[in-house]
């Protein structure tokens, strides 16, 4: 599909296949529109050309009710900031989708909430308010909320950004374990190469609106492309140059004036 924002083309004939049951990573430099891609998949943005199919259904041809139904069944999303509702406690945040979409009694909800919170290791924190949580804890609560309705797919928007090593390790473990335990399809958007590559089954590298390279983590590690090598290994200079375009240094020093 293709998608432009104003006159800027963000995605140009992008073609991707995300396999059920696997952890698929979407990586690329900052600003390539990775979050935009998740919003396109979730139906919050509409592509200019092409289509996005989730569970066989064309997301953007659905009416509002059908779209909401699809989201409820198939999509859980973990936002970069957690996006917890600030006026509800941890418990109420996780219970929110259950209260809105199911007719469970309060005791049934309580069981589910405790189980979900237990899966992310925060069962004891259930009475805290979101502003009392650290960033990492907030993300874990958001994850518990995302799996509350047992969706088929979870999308992670930059889950590792800005986390300390321990929180990072916790999140990595959770994403991998939940994927296996709940038979989920996970889509991880990130530019933290090492962590993401360690849990992914398949990786798409996106730059300048198209897929630059795709493959398993091993295959990408052995890639011949200079750019992929620079990206995956975090090299300072390569196809993406270190110096912003400018005339040669000697010329500039020899000149009088700016």
């Amino acid at each position: 599909m293709s998608f432009s924002r104003g006159s800027r083309k963000i995605f140009d004939n992008l073609n991707m296949d995300i396999e059920r049951g696997k952890v698929t990573a979407i990586m690329g430099p900052s600003g390539t529109g990775k979050t935009t891609l998740l919003k396109l998949i979730g139906g919050q943005l509409k592509p200019d050309t092409g289509s996005i199919l989730v569970d066989g259904e064309n997301v953007h041809q659905l009416g509002k009710r059908a779209l909401y139904d699809l989201r409820q069944r198939t999509m859980g999303m973990l936002f970069q900031s957690g996006a917890l509702l600030t006026d509800l406690s941890v418990y109420d945040n996780v219970a929110f989708p259950l209260r809105e979409h199911t007719k469970l009694t309060e005791s049934g909800i309580r069981h589910l909430v405790l189980l979900k919170l237990n899966a992310v290791g925060l069962r004891g924190a259930r009475s805290l308010m979101p502003n009392e949580l650290s960033g990492g804890m907030a993300r874990r609560v958001a994850l518990a909320r995302a799996i509350a309705l047992d969706p088929a797919m979870i999308m992670y928007d930059e889950p590792f950004t800005g986390q300390d090593p321990i929180s990072m390790g916790v999140l990595v473990k959770l994403i991998r374990d939940l994927n296996h335990a709940l038979d989920l399809t996970s889509v991880v958007v990130s530019h933290d190469v090492a962590e993401t590559a360690s849990i992914s089954d398949y990786i798409y590298l996106i730059a300048e609106g198209r897929v630059v390279e795709q493959g398993t983590p091993d295959a990408l590690g052995k890639s011949h492309s200079g750019w992929v090598d620079q990206f995956m290994n975090g090299l300072a200079d390569g196809p993406v140059p270190f110096q912003y375009p400018a005339p040669p240094l000697v010329d500039e020093l020899m000149q009088v004036g700016p």
Binding site: G42, Y68, D69, R71, F79, A83, T86, P97, A142
Partner: protein
């Protein structure tokens, strides 16, 4: 120089049009969801508290003082004509027809309107609205509609309370400070103040004001640029635009209602 200014003028005019268009589309999106606010009573009650009860204190204080000042000023003017007995009429008609709805509108816009914009704008910038959508909960029904409905209900109620307390303030000043007869105060008012012409017209004004203020407040929050600067601009816009709208509509409504 001139070209730049003209360009800027054209740009802001087009911006204004596009903003008005977005605001109208937003309204058309919220209105069908308003029934949802009545169904989810706990949300509505919470918003009635946020928007109505918390504005009550400033309304009470302002009302008392406006009523008292009006009584003093009316007395000063009327005493020269020997018409001090009409003081209750001056106070009540001014309050019921104009000052009640307008003051309440302006105070509400400043206190509750800006709070609504800030709250919704913050929810937008922390991706809570997006998050709700992805959880298949319609933010229109869960966030916007209860606040909209709470505003529609609160503003007329606050106006009525303002009117009553202002008149009581006027009564206090007239009788305790200016030595007017309490009985004459009420009977003069009772004879000349018309329920439909004065009280109901004032309430109708407050309904219109409430609608416009809460529409602007909720829209600006929903539409704001999700940065701290954008949020500040949005709350300022809410207060300024609502206040101007209240004053402008007041003129139009007064012309329609009291022209005869």
């Amino acid at each position: 120089m001139i070209q730049n200014s003209l360009q800027a003028l054209g740009h802001s005019t087009l911006n204004a049009f596009s903003r008005t268009g977005r605001a109208t589309l937003f309204l058309l999106g919220v209105l069908p969801s308003l029934w949802a606010a009545l169904v989810r009573l706990p949300l509505l009650i919470k918003q009635l508290y946020n928007v109505g009860v918390q504005t009550l204190s400033i309304i009470l204080v302002a009302g008392v003082f406006v009523g008292m000042v009006l009584a003093l000023q009316s007395y000063i003017v009327l005493v020269d004509f020997g018409a001090e007995e009409s003081i209750s009429l001056m106070v009540s008609l001014s309050i019921l027809r104009e000052l009640g709805p307008v003051f309440t509108g302006l105070l509400f816009a400043g206190r509750a309107g800006s709070a609504l914009t800030a709250e919704i704008g913050l929810m937008k910038s922390t991706e809570q609205l997006s998050g709700m959508e992805m959880m298949a909960v319609d933010p229109m029904k869960y966030v916007m509609a209860p606040r909209f409905m709470a505003g529609l209900i609160s503003v007329p109620l606050l106006t009525i309370i303002f009117m009553a307390i202002a008149i009581l303030g006027g009564y206090y000043v007239s009788t305790e400070m200016l030595g007017q007869d309490g009985g004459v105060f009420w009977s003069q008012m009772h004879a000349k103040v018309d329920f439909y012409e004065d009280v109901m017209n004032g309430i109708i004004k407050s309904l219109v004001f409430g609608f416009v203020i809460v529409w602007i407040a909720v829209f600006e929050g929903y539409d704001c640029v999700p940065t701290s600067e954008g949020l500040g601009q949005a709350t300022t816009r809410t207060v300024v635009h609502s206040s101007l709208a209240v004053l402008g509509l007041d003129f139009i409504l007064t012309a329609i209602m009291f022209a005869s």
